[in-house]
Symmetry: C2
């Protein structure tokens, strides 16, 4: 691990200096990754989850809860019945509520008396009570099917709008993020029992701003704070230490702790099912389904590379609204065409695909996002004096003076242009020779013969796409070329008249299975052989020019 690439305390606003970045969202200061994590975890600790009857009187529930403290926020959602997430203003309200809550009687079933923050609310005499007139608003916790998405997209007025529409349908909602942090907080209740200083934090898709509704919750157990008292009591001639289990390796300690926590979840955790311990993996983990929140969870132990990757993506995602829209679009497109898969295998992973989008955004001219080396340089410059208040002022100035310039950047390089460029870029990329290096933002010679080589940004000798084989890569290139072609030939008016999917919608229909007349026309008009030879010649030209550039 290169220590130069720790992001930990970098304020996001640093990247304001990166002069090429168009600021689409400069009106309020963006929070740093660490700030968001802390705030959300605190929120989750003040939160409970209540299973409700299907005909729940929202007002009465809130009235009952208010006797234990002020309810700061709440929402209802459907998951094996109706549930309510309740966020109190004060943590103490939960203790007050817990004290008033009963244990299910053991007449039919015997219970494991573990008292969590998961409750069931019931009406004593359902018949005698007035049923709620206004139907509950239920926050969706999963995205709409692709079929429905395509229909929706056809109603948009531009490809850019379609891409933002897709982002809006697929990205995590405020409510879903709250549920994810709650799931972590509930697991923390288990780890805190033995390790009071431990925390359980989400990483990956839940926090990197690129998470899709329905994605797994990756969480890690963090002991970082445990050692904070270790240096105390050094005065005087004595030393007092805890007697603790000693193990020959940190890995063994990790495996043991995860194993026990896994057993605790399995045996005591309400709604924790299908607990699987995968302790001999490179990164030992416990997988389980958490029924109360509806998430599939992966619990591992603090992994600095995973955290930094999350933070890097968070920074890129916050820099420019187009970044996330493009990534969501490419990922949806890849999934539809079988280029990615939720099962492990030779498919390109979502993370690799996201890194390819980032690389493209670094490489295009002008670039949309900075390289890691540039980020590092910016962080170095500001490491001493960069206070948030002064930088907030800096943002205001930026917004006032550069708004016209920013607007122009958005007009000249709108999302649909970037989408087309992406397909062209990777349709022409010399994968045989070059690898993808996000640190330098350059194509560099492949250090070994993997079909697809993407340098791990934080461990430079690792290829994050080692699993991808030649046929999968070829399929990706073919699909990219096909998609580039479709976008170029785009005739929105004609397609709408023909009642055919247009723009992004057209790209989200499997090409082979397409029964649209347009697809047939396309195949009639120009043979795929012709396209291939055309694109191959383009690639050759491109490769030559790049070789020259590298030679400089």
């Amino acid at each position: 691990i290169d220590n130069d690439f720790r992001f930990g305390r970098w304020p996001l606003c640093l990247y304001a200096e990166w002069k090429e970045v168009p600021y689409a969202e400069v009106s309020t200061r963006k929070k740093t990754f660490a700030e968001v994590q802390t705030e959300r975890l605190d929120q989750a600790e003040r939160t409970v989850l209540i299973k409700c009857p299907s005909k729940i009187n929202e007002k009465k529930l809130l009235q009952y809860l208010s006797s234990h403290g002020n309810v700061k926020s709440h929402f209802f959602f459907e998951n094996r019945g109706i549930s309510a997430l309740i966020e109190f203003s004060e943590k103490g309200s939960i203790a007050s509520l817990q004290d008033a809550v009963g244990i299910p009687s053991a007449s039919e079933h015997h219970v494991v008396p573990f008292k969590s923050r998961l409750f069931t609310f019931t009406l004593k005499n359902p018949g005698s009570q007035r049923i709620e007139e206004t139907p509950l608003h239920l926050s969706p916790q999963c995205h709409i099917p692709v079929k429905d998405l395509i229909e929706k997209l056809c109603l948009a007025d531009s490809i850019s709008s379609q891409m933002y529409m897709l982002l809006n349908e697929y990205q995590l909602t405020e409510e879903n993020i709250k549920l994810r942090f709650l799931a972590c907080s509930l697991v923390r209740d288990f780890t805190c029992a033995y390790f009071p200083d431990s925390t359980v934090k989400p990483f990956g898709s839940s926090v990197n701003t690129f998470g899709k509704l329905g994605s797994d919750v990756d969480m890690f157990l963090d002991f970082r704070d445990t050692g904070k008292h270790a240096t105390k009591m050094k005065k005087g001639p004595f030393e007092m230490e805890y007697q603790m289990k000693r193990l020959p390796s940190e890995r063994l300690a990790t495996q043991r702790i995860l194993s026990v926590i896994g057993d605790c979840l399995d045996n005591f955790g309400p709604g924790c099912v299908n607990v699987q311990k995968i302790l001999n993996a490179r990164c030992p983990l416990v997988k389980f389904a958490h029924q109360p929140t509806g998430f599939q969870c992966d619990l591992s132990v603090s992994n600095s590379i995973a955290i930094r990757s999350s933070e890097l993506l968070y920074i890129y995602g916050c820099l420019d609204s187009r970044v996330r829209a493009l990534v969501f679009t490419i990922r949806c497109w890849a999934r539809v065409h079988g280029l990615t898969n939720s099962a492990p295998g030779t498919w390109i992973t979502n993370f690799s695909l996201t890194m390819m989008v980032m690389f493209f955004l670094q490489r295009r001219s002008p670039p949309i996002i900075p390289t890691l080396d540039q980020l590092k340089e910016l962080a170095g410059k500001h490491s001493c004096f960069c206070g948030y208040c002064s930088l907030f002022n800096f943002f205001i100035i930026l917004k006032t003076n550069f708004s016209l310039l920013l607007l122009m950047a958005l007009v000249f390089f709108p999302l649909d242009v970037l989408l087309g460029e992406f397909f062209e870029y990777f349709g022409n990329f010399d994968f045989r020779k070059n690898s993808i290096n996000l640190r330098k933002g350059k194509e560099v010679n492949k250090p070994e013969s993997s079909p697809l080589y993407i340098w791990n940004p934080f461990e430079q000798d690792l290829n994050i796409s080692k699993n991808v084989n030649q046929p999968q890569l070829e399929k990706f290139v073919a699909m990219a070329r096909e998609s580039a072609w479709i976008l170029q030939k785009e005739d929105k008016t004609q397609q709408i008249m023909d009642k055919e999917p247009w723009g992004l919608a057209a790209l989200l229909i499997p090409f082979g299975k397409s029964n649209s007349s347009k697809m047939k026309n396309r195949m009639k008009g120009i043979g795929s052989e012709t396209i291939r030879s055309l694109l191959d010649s383009l690639k050759l030209n491109n490769a030559n020019s790049q070789q020259k550039a590298v030679g400089k």
Copy 2:
């Protein structure tokens, strides 16, 4: 289980009414079983254990600890080095101490950062510090070997004194009891992590006043208090319940909980080693060695029969000082002669043997202890009005008026008489026909053919000595007869002149292996055949007279 035989809240002083009981220890009111348990558990929660260097300056350690709170009591003992048990006056002192204690550095070993009440105290520069002049007093945590005991016994002035001497050497010390409760309290720290209302209490030898130094610590996990809030919040039209893991049987819940707690002890508990889960036993349990206290522990889940047996023995043990001395003597005698064994098998268990002593003390004339039915009757009488204060006064009166009478009882039936009577009683007992029933205090016809049948006092259809086979029983009878004969032929003066073990000491030497001239003389003087026929005739007479009694 017969609900009539719940002892729970019986004040000990009740048995004062049982008119035959001689009060050897009436000066202070004895505490009830529940009172002792509560007090000891509270004490244990305020206690920590500190591993010390061999040359520890006691004053400096106490001075250091006093900065965290008042030390109420402390002692040192040897167990894999020197350890100190420290009892604070306030529980809060432990938190203060824990806050100042460091975590061992992970340079060589990796630790599981579970913070217990087990610490290691070290001197930073051992060379530069003044070494303690006065040697530490170390409380013994195990009894002396039988060989040394025999030597000591020979110095006593009577067989009764020998028996009290044996009791004194073998019984649990105040310090050892504190350590046992601490072991339970440390296990409770594990169970409380998930079940805050749970307690871990010792039962059996640790608390029944019949425990021997070195015996295992039997402890049980009690959830009894968990349900205390279950009936709350019944007002209003709603009900709120915890979501909890449901299981089809209580046994399965017990097994699951013990299994996880066992894993926690194994993986997180400092010094918890050789953890074995025996979950398919009739009473599921987890066995482990607890190195910091030096105990072999058995953790099970609340078992009302075991608790009642402990309390019954506690009551019998407190009634009359002769009871415990006789039981310790018989158990030591049985062990020396191979009648009992720490391994499971066809041997008589210590519990069965103790019950046989109790039965004998119920049967002799006048009886020394009441039957269970009599105890039950006394409890019934006093269930309403029996306050401790008034009964304390009752004790004072008893002591004043009956002291002469009590002295006479002790003179006429001293311990050595009871010992001889015990051997005669069971040397002549008709085991073929009769069973031992402590509830009625009567010999009753055996309900089935087990060689030895002792009714479980709390589950009347169970035989607590089902494991004993005919050869083992015959060996017991033979040894009892031999011992009765030795006591009768006792010639203390001659034995002391011959420098031979006398009295109880003579009984604690394996008869077969004895190389004393006395043993040879004894064999010469009277053939064992002669003894047997003599005793058999006695037994026959006895059986006849008893048959008549039963016939009435």
